[in-house]
């Protein structure tokens, strides 16, 4: 979250819920306040944030009403004042780790609606013995963990900021730390106990995209590529046995989404799911459908997906649902599992918990995915500020274009594989090849679309990455192609896997004339009028 974005989010929103919350830390809290309020706003709350003066943490914790909503950020020197950088090294002859008095703990134990965060920042090594300093660091961390605090990475501590202005968080981490604290607090105290986990499939249950890679191309075992997906599946199995309802929402056809389960060698089976909704409609609509059928509030849902787009779509439309992004890197998996497990906190396990999946399956039997509402999808797509840049490939740089044609199956006009030689031959005899790159508020998504046209105006290949389905980009691109580039018809062919393209080609912007697919000019113009404000198309040639 940038500064100006945070300022905008700080404005009062009448559709938000009003909430009061204390934010206590010993250092200067002012730089964090803007971002804390911004993240509360994203979660659907106007927060009245009560902060305290510099260096008054202890007194305010003692005076705190035990039922007030509170976020408390602790550093080692809050627990052991002798290790405060701002005080320098104190005289520590003949002292040992056990003789130190750790403050605050008793006061913190008495507070209820409190989320404590501890940053185990490096502190002055006050003991002569190096290992005593390590012992103290571990002791403080252990004490804070016992208190139920969440640990925030010590890399967020900024010595420069702490000494210069009294704020121990670096300027480049104000937003990140604020987000961690607000998410942690809201998930724990303002949202209900979580009962449902809705998971994506591609890139989450397995590495890869089933529609494009096939069952042999995806990975979910205890191998380098599949390990975090394997562990994730075992965790979901664990949750299901504890009574959490597991649902699947996947951008695939039903048959393709369930193909990996049919192999019989995954940790999870379709029986572990209360419901699997596979379609190309918006995921937020599917969550709402599940909420209605299960008769459970959306604030009891957790949504897991690897895609920025899907996370944004769901979190912008359903503020009460907690959304977690499945990590792309193994190194981030620990934090992800830690965040996820903190949402499903359970003390006792009953017999009813163990049978819950079977009980709820009856409520959702035979439900079909809900079709997306155009109005709400358009409003979300508009907020993405998408830009499509079309490029004509010259100088034989066909590698990415060929990869896109050959690897993409779902939105692929005919599934015909191309080689460097076949593409070169088409280009040399007067054909053209175009690719399009997509940019939005999340950043650049690379080349996501390719179109190969021969010298007779026949579109020989047309493919688009499944990552950008439902963004209406294909309509805007086809309109541009029809307006500026000479082509006659589409060399379309139905395949086992191009179901998404089959739906597209059956729309009224196309007509089947003399066994060849051509453009319906009038319908295309109407479609373009509907969608061209969603995507800003420009050319780079």
């Amino acid at each position: 979250m940038n500064f100006l974005e945070a300022v905008e989010l700080n404005k009062y929103n009448s559709s938000h819920e009003d909430v009061c919350c204390n934010f206590f830390m010993s250092g200067l809290s002012a730089p964090l306040e803007l971002y804390l309020k911004g993240y509360f706003s994203i979660k659907g709350f106007n927060v009245d944030l009560n902060t305290i003066p510099f260096n008054s943490l202890h007194q305010n914790v003692i005076d705190l009403n035990s039922n007030d909503n509170s976020i408390i950020l602790i550093f080692p020197w809050d627990l052991v004042p002798e290790v405060n950088w701002r005080s320098g090294f104190s005289d520590f002859k003949n002292r040992d780790v056990n003789s130190l008095n750790i403050l605050l703990i008793d006061s913190l134990r008495n507070i209820n609606n409190m989320a404590i965060f501890y940053i185990p920042a490096f502190f002055p090594p006050i003991f002569q013995n190096y290992f005593d300093n390590i012992k103290l660091a571990e002791k403080l961390k252990h004490v804070m963990l016992k208190l139920g605090s969440k640990i925030i990475d010590s890399e967020f501590f900024s010595m420069e900021n702490y000494l210069n202005i009294g704020c121990p968080i670096g300027n480049n981490n104000l937003s990140k730390v604020s987000k961690l604290m607000v998410d942690g607090f809201i998930n724990q105290y303002l949202f209900k106990e979580k009962k449902v986990l809705v998971t994506d499939f591609d890139g989450v249950l397995w590495k890869g995209i089933i529609g494009d890679d096939g069952v042999d191309g995806i990975c979910y075992d205890q191998s380098v590529d599949g390990y975090i997906h394997y562990i994730y599946q075992t965790y979901l199995k664990n949750l299901k046995d504890r009574g959490v309802l597991i649902c699947g929402v996947s951008r695939n056809s039903d048959g393709i989404a369930k193909m990996p389960f049919e192999q019989g060698n995954m940790v999870l089976s379709t029986d572990d799911f209360v419901s699997i909704l596979a379609s190309y409609n918006s995921k937020s609509e599917q969550l709402q459908l599940l909420s209605e059928k299960l008769n459970l509030g959306l604030d009891s849902f957790v949504f897991v997906d690897d895609s920025d787009y899907e996370i944004k779509e769901v979190s912008s439309r359903i503020k009460q649902t907690t959304c977690l992004q499945f990590p792309k890197e193994t190194n981030n998996f620990l934090e992800f599992i830690s965040d996820l497990s903190s949402l499903f906190n359970q003390t006792d396990l009953t017999e009813e918990d163990k049978k819950r999946t079977e009980l709820y399956k009856k409520r959702v039997k035979n439900i079909a995915p809900r079709v997306s509402s155009e109005k709400s999808l358009s409003s979300f797509l508009l907020s993405l500020k998408m830009k499509l840049v079309v490029k004509k490939i010259v100088n034989s740089n066909f590698d990415r274009a060929i990869q896109l044609i050959n690897k993409t199956n779902q939105f692929n006009m005919n599934g015909v594989k191309q080689t460097y030689d076949s593409v070169s031959s088409i280009i040399e005899s007067g054909g053209s090849i175009f690719t399009a790159s997509l940019y939005d508020i999340s950043g650049g998504h690379g080349e996501i679309l390719v179109c190969l046209i021969d010298n007779k105006g026949v579109i020989r290949s047309f493919a688009m990455s499944c990552r950008v389905f439902q963004r209406k980009i294909e309509y805007v691109f086809i309109y541009w192609l029809h307006k500026y580039i000479n082509f006659e018809k589409f060399n379309y062919m139905k395949t086992d896997r191009n179901g998404v393209f089959q739906e597209f080609i059956n729309e009224d912007i196309f007509i089947n004339k003399n066994d060849s697919i051509r453009i319906n000019n009038k319908s295309l113009t109407i479609a373009n009028k509907k969608y061209n404000n969603l995507v800003d198309l420009s050319t780079n040639f």
């Binding site: 940038n2 500064f3 100006l4 002012a30 730089p31 480049n172 937003s175």
Partner: protein, 79 residues
């Protein structure tokens, strides 16, 4: 400084110092603006780093007393 960058800097200035929209920022200086205190300087540092991506030394910023000086400082850093 490019026009669009000047616009961002002006916006930061207005927000941090709580100025009304149509005020001429060129006329603002530390002496004639009560809201330009040390906390405002701290806010400038984090806002500039967040929006513009330039890390300014806080001591450098404490010496800035007008919009023009801030503009010059950022221009000297390539903004």
């Amino acid at each position: 400084m490019k026009d669009e960058n000047l616009l961002i800097l002006t916006k930061i200035f207005q927000i941090v110092l709580n100025l009304i929209d149509d005020i001429d920022v060129e006329s603002i200086n530390k002496d004639n603006t009560r809201s330009w205190d040390s906390l405002a300087t701290v806010s400038f540092q984090s806002a500039i780093q967040s929006e513009i991506g330039i890390e300014l030394d806080i001591q450098e910023l404490f010496e800035i007393t007008s919009f023009k000086m801030l503009d010059s400082l950022l221009s000297s850093k390539g903004y």
